[in-house]
Symmetry: C2
Subunit: 231 residues, 2 copies
């Protein structure tokens, strides 16, 4: 194994907490009564179907900022954000560029980087990922993302394209993710797989509570992963 590629949202960074905090700030400034976590959950709830419109070729490629804005516009009325002006909506979309990593992520990545090439492999576009990495100090060797291939995960083009860019065979690359469907797609393309247990949806999480198949590795966090790989 030569390289580790990582899902970003939920696996490396806490999108739910970061988005909820941004919603809370915007709502307070405008005197709106909203449930910030309900907004974050509803927003992420649109995620899968919004990606699919591009992945299934129903429209030309647009990046995640565009999809996030469309989803926000669709959910705003139902969550007390109907009156938000354009500037506030853009501010909320930009909150997805300022997400904090889970506490183990930087230490784990610093250790893993000594032995392996490490890169994200996210549905977030390059600019979004650069912003997150720079702010959070994620020490990536490269930024890999689905916009390089103008589609979205779990399109196999993404996993195979990442291996091609790294000039590695799929069996030399491991995807690390907190999501079973992402790992299933990577596995189908021949990559190795590591499930990391996260609680990205909070205490009421109902999905991805554990590995649903016999992934190559199952770890508690990135420091655990580094130890398991001798890094």
């Amino acid at each position: 194994m030569r390289a580790l590629v990582f899902d970003l949202f939920g696996t490396c960074v806490d999108w739910r907490g970061g988005v909820a905090r941004a919603v809370e700030v915007v709502a307070r400034e405008r005197g709106l009564d909203v449930d910030p976590f309900a907004v974050a959950d509803a927003w992420r709830g649109h995620y899968g179907s919004s990606l699919a419109t591009v992945r299934d070729h129903h429209r030309p490629f647009v990046d995640l900022d565009v999809l996030h804005r469309e989803s926000l516009d669709a959910l705003a009325d139902g969550h007390g954000l109907g009156g938000l002006d354009d500037a506030a909506r853009r501010e909320l979309v930009a909150a997805w560029h300022r997400l904090d990593p889970w506490p183990d992520v930087v230490e784990g990545l610093v250790r893993l980087k000594r032995r392996f090439v490490i890169a994200p492999l996210s549905n977030g576009h390059v600019a979004l990922q650069v912003a997150i990495a720079k702010r959070a100090g994620l020490p990536w060797d490269a930024i890999l993302s689905t916009d390089l291939f103008r589609t979205y995960k779990p399109d196999p083009v993404v996993y195979l394209g990442a291996c091609r860019l790294l000039a590695l065979d799929p069996a030399e690359v491991m995807l690390v993710a907190a999501h079973n469907n992402d790992l299933a797609a990577a596995h189908a393309s021949g990559l190795r797989t590591c499930f990391v247990t996260r609680r990205e949806y909070g205490p009421d999480q109902t999905r991805d509570l554990g590995p649903e198949r016999a992934w190559d590795l199952v770890v508690g966090d990135f420091v655990d992963l580094a130890q398991r790989l001798g890094a």
Copy 2:
């Protein structure tokens, strides 16, 4: 200005010294009488025309390892390397993945990274650049390269594609290069330009001895650049 993108070969790393050292090692092991610097110069001499075969759509995209191998095969006989076996030739092609930075590069980039997004924008493919950056400690925020666009500089697709991936207007991006033709192409696409004085060809260098146009900045090295930009 938000981002700086950097030419790699000659601007950040000493391809001539690194390649010559690898040639010397291979030649000594095989008892061959060669001039290592002449080989390096001849190899680089094929560079422009080999890139053009792809850039001008005379063939499908192939990466720089493929072009380097073809050029090596073409020059080997004339430079005392005709008897080299395949393994040795592959070793020499791989030498382009192990080039040392000029002495000012790491310090300059570390400082520039505090204020700007920094990325290479090289004809070297992602895997080659990851190898160089990892070995040399180049602290890039992202790896940008022409293989993302399946063409080579100075195709404008490269400069505009880099700006698109960074989600920046060309005027928010500066190309730093030791080559006037690279800067001319970047300028034509609306990027800012910085000429850095290098002696990549050694004491007998005849080209790119200085700026040939009024580039936005002219600097002696990357530490000078950091100081000029207040980083």
